[in-house]
Amino acid sequence: MEPIIDLAHVTKTYRSKGKRVLALKNVTLPVEKGSFTTIIGPSGCGKSTLLKIIAGISLPYEGRLNYKGREIASINSDVGFVTQDSNLFPWLTLSQNVELALKIRGVAKTERALVAQRLIDTMQLTGFETHYPFELSGGMQKRGSIIRTLIYDPDIILMDEPFGPLDAQTRLVLQDELLRIWDANKKTILFVTHDLTEAIALSDKVVLFTGRPGTVKRIFDVPLRRPRNVFEIHNEKGFTDLYHEIWSEFKMEITV
């Protein structure tokens, strides 16, 4: 199968305080259409930078980055980007936030309200449509930020540690919901995290990055059966072995 994203020898340097900083070095990574791929690595290894390059908001780079066979040279509005903070716009109500992408794309008011309402209902946010973000809990804001990305039906969803700031229970619930959405739509998801359990629970492939400058250290297949139960993932056959296998390599990259 032709990979939807194909990175070959991608290197990224940027300037900080007059110095050249090497963020990514020689990253080669094919991402298959419809797959759930997780990138894991120590903090500062350039995982987020990689997502920004794919979204076309951190250009230029060296090497080759093909998206559906074409080079990325500007903002890539075929992707959806879910940031670490929910980043719902505080001046818009929940439903206005969810509709925003369609408004920008010129979809008529009644139509976009219809689509937004359907997504709000599937995420159990019904009744909170006219609430402003400050009136929503962290978990609700996160749901909102996921569906405002889903609404324009992007081919790929890039998620940059989206569940990082949430408490442990809300995290599990949202991981579960994310898997259900992914199952139903078969979108390609490229997910960045620093949590190994989360990485294994969600993905088909776990890509382990080295410390800065980040590069692919190893790619692990996750053979656990689907649909998965994220709440009981520890008891899943094969989980522990895989966890230890990845961890033994991961811990070498972590310097405190």
Partner: protein, 286 residues
């Protein structure tokens, strides 16, 4: 699979709203708070009045509330205040609108176009350092003793406070917001409309509210220097005749004018910025 925290924290956690707020109760609370605010002012007026009765020298220096009130009624009913009020309001309106519009516009340009901001900013800081009041005599020479010289002074005063706030607002816009709408496919103008304008609005409002007293100061200073009408002229005229009561009549009218204008603007602000959590503590004294 419902988020457990959803319903409980729907109303912002710590600073929780009072759940049992009936309309009557809300009204009672509002009147109570209104009274709380008015009380110190009323006490001051009362003490002032009593002191003026007790010591006539006090009355000569600072007049007394009842006399000031009578004076205001007097100038309003005889109509002699209107030409002054009219001139000052016109100066303020013209100067404020021009200063605010150019302040917002240039603040936007300098805030978003980096090279332009880098070039213009040092100059704006420099000119802002000049006390604008010191320029007033020059403006009178340039624009004469009519409304124009006062409008010019007000423009320079209002422009800077609005510009500086707008500029600060733009420089503080969360870049993630910009990236998010760009990825959604927003054009340059859509980024301005969907992100920069709403994100900067709270800052612009701060500048606009701060600009109101400046526009009064500008008008009065200009009228002090050279004019034939205006509330500043009225005050200056009464000073010339040692009429303290007349001075306080003018000052009180100016103060009321600022309070009314600021009140109107804060209503607009409340409406425009209703998406912000209330900052003031909700249940103080309740």
């Amino acid at each position: 699979m419902k988020d457990r925290t959803a319903t409980s924290s729907a109303s912002t956690g710590l600073a929780d709203k009072n759940p049992a707020e009936s309309p009557q109760r809300t009204f009672a609370l509002a009147s109570f708070r209104g009274l709380q605010v008015l009380l110190p002012g009323l006490c001051t007026l009362l003490l002032w009045e009593l002191a003026a009765w007790q010591w006539p020298s006090v009355a000569r220096l600072v007049s007394q509330p009842i006399e000031i009130g009578r004076g205001i009624v007097d100038v309003v009913t005889t109509g002699i205040i209107w030409q002054h009020f009219d001139a000052t309001i016109k100066e303020m309106a013209a100067g404020y609108v021009i200063g605010a519009v150019t302040g917002v516009a240039l603040g936007f340009l300098c805030g978003r176009i980096k090279w332009l901001g880098d070039i213009l900013n040092p100059y704006i800081t420099l000119f802002n350092g000049i006390p604008k009041v010191a320029l007033a005599p020059v403006f009178v020479i340039w624009f004469g003793i009519g409304l124009m010289s006062k409008i010019a002074i007000i423009i320079t005063m209002v422009f800077f406070v609005v510009f500086i706030n707008t500029f600060a607002g733009l420089r503080s816009v969360n870049e993630d917001y910009v990236a998010i709408v760009r990825i959604m496919g927003a054009s340059g103008w859509q980024v301005v409309r969907e992100v920069f304008l709403p994100a900067t609005l709270p800052f612009i409002m701060v500048g606009l509210r701060a600009g109101i007293p400046f526009s009064v100061i500008g008008a009065v200073v200009g009228e002090f220097i050279a004019s034939t009408k205006g509330l500043g002229f009225f005050i200056n005229y009464n000073q010339g005749t040692y009429d303290t009561n007349g001075i306080f009549v003018g000052v009180t009218i100016l103060a009321l004018l600022v309070v009314v204008l600021d009140g109107l603007l804060s209503l607009v602000e409340k409406r425009l910025l209703k998406w912000r959590p209330e900052v003031e503590a909700k249940n103080v004294g309740a």
